[in-house]
Symmetry: C2
Subunit: 346 residues, 2 copies
């Protein structure tokens, strides 16, 4: 009988490629991009049921209210840990781990992606937890659909006796050529940033490769305080930690890395073009969310938070109205939205 | 020495081709489409100076406040006549004429167009007034720039001894083929709807061709009342008049019609495409009014009353943000804006 899994939901970020919908004050996890629930609410929803313990949410001070609102709306309870400044996933996960028993099985879930088949996610989580109980540091791997350069890749090693594999290597975001090689080799998976391990194993490995970070996290946890039901680590010491991703600080170094493949309809909804493909479309490829009106249009995407959008005679255009910003971009132009968002949200 | 001219400014309408900027509650004359002044303010500005008397403005009840605001803003005084319902230009002009001496020289000025060379307008007005003093009903003619089907045409007859011509015929909006013939003949001018005549001459001719209308207007004027400095004709009788244009009711019938050509940079700013050509453009043909931002764009037109518009990678697109409406149209699609406007402003 498997121990219960403690979901550790990481919730923050400042994705700018979905600007102006995604903003510094309300980043991607808090947007209902598909359906009625935000990506954070989707993450909460995926991690419930008899096999899951009460989740831990790590977020930033700017987003605590949004997290609490989502918990109220979904009727869930969670421990909230507030990072005074974002210091990367390695420290964020360590901070949660030091506050839980070493034996707790943590499932690290970013909340900036969509999972179309949550049942497959549940199954893969259990397989990962089984390996975690054997001392593995497990990641979920996604069968790559394209030679994508926006993700890290994981190379598969020998099969383990259960559903998983050893990891041969973690690789950072490759260039286009390398990504194409990975894709054709059939040996590589996308790294979705979902991990499963026992808290104690994680801390022991992190201690090995990042002893200073681990010590700093422990000290910050000891100096921390609970205010308004949220745990705040010691600010000065936590803020001084060098920000590193869990992948880079630990997974690339450890020889205890394993992988479970999860064909779970994963998408990071990396930009408006991607979201457009995922939204329901009419016979002409148009998709409208909010008050919109398409006349003689093809492949037009409209998202508006209020104003009525009237599109006439357009082809392959993204239109997003949010607050005081109106974005209108050709398909080709959409790669520049990120820059625009960064500039606007400065 | 010429008598002073009384400008008779017609101000109303519900142009929908400049929707959503032009709306039922704030139609084209009240929009500052070029420069800082509305077209109505431009019309007021053209008709001032030593040769002009205090103007008379005919408008609808819905627009009296906008008229008064414009008068305050420009520091002008005018007699305001309020039509209970719009009954066409023939009746509107008659209503003003019956309240003025028969000898008054009226200059009928619609306020839904732009005149780029007001000095030429002034000169042409004086020429027209000179003919009006001789008993002619004078229209200003515009040298046609294209085989336009949106305007009525005026065929030139023999030259008069001053700057004008007799009118051979007035013709309603022609089809494309006929318009092309008119253009190549060199004999036709566009009818800009600007007329000059003595009030008494106008009423006498109208009496001849539209005796019922003339009688109704006289009765409505007699039953009228001045309230809040505006003259309101008798509502029931005025509202029952059959709406007809001055052109149709009178100019097409009279043999006292004359024309003065006026190369005065006239444009009715009939749609966004036309306005786009008239606005200042950057090296890539983009023109932005309000808070707008063009990236990799060509021939993009932006007009926004507040929200920031960010356009990326677009070619030949019209973008208008007004109140709660956002219009985005291709060049080809822009002919459908009128329908959209009619539907939206119902």
């Amino acid at each position: 009988m498997l121990d219960k899994i403690t979901p550790l939901i990481l919730c923050g970020g400042s994705g700018t490629r979905l600007w102006p919908r995604s903003r510094a004050a309300r980043p991607k996890p808090f947007l209902p991009l598909l359906g009625d629930r935000s990506l954070f609410e989707e993450a909460l929803g995926r991690c419930q049921g008899e096999h899951f313990d009460r989740p831990v949410v790590v977020t930033g001070a700017a987003h605590v209210e949004l997290v609490e609102l989502a918990l109220v709306r979904t009727g869930r309870h969670a421990e909230i840990i507030v990072e005074p400044r974002p210091r990367g996933t390695a420290a964020a996960v360590a901070l949660a781990a030091v506050r839980l028993p070493d034996s707790a099985i943590l499932l690290v879930c970013p909340s900036d992606h969509h999972i179309g088949r949550p049942d497959v996610f549940t199954k893969a989580s259990h397989e990962a937890a089984t390996l975690a109980e054997q001392g593995w540091l497990v990641c979920l791997g996604i069968d790559p659909a394209a030679a994508e350069t926006r993700f890290g890749y994981i190379q598969r090693g020998e099969a383990l006796d259960s559903a998983g594999f050893r990891v041969r290597q973690f690789v950072e975001k490759p260039d286009k050529e390398t990504a194409a090689k990975y894709l054709s080799s059939g040996d590589f998976a996308w790294n979705a940033g979902i991990f499963c391990f026992r808290g104690g194993d994680y801390l022991a490995e992190l201690e090995k490769y990042r002893p200073e970070m681990t010590a700093a996290v422990r000290a910050a946890a000891e100096l921390g305080q609970t205010k308004d039901s949220c745990f705040h680590p010691g600010e000065a010491i936590y803020s001084a930690i060098r920000a590193e991703s869990l992948d880079y600080a630990l997974m690339e170094n450890t020889d205890r890395a394993a992988m479970v493949m999860a064909d779970m309809g994963w998408s990071d909804i990396g930009d408006w073009q991607t979201l457009k493909r995922m939204r329901e479309q009419d016979a002409n490829g148009n998709s409208v969310r909010g008050s919109g009106n398409v006349i003689d249009c093809r492949n037009v995407f409209i998202e508006t938070d209020g104003p009525r959008v009237h599109a006439i005679g357009l082809d392959d255009v993204i239109i997003v109205v949010d607050g005081d910003d109106v974005l209108i971009s050709s398909a080709a132009g959409s790669t520049r939205i990120g820059e625009l968002g960064k500039e606007a949200e400065k």
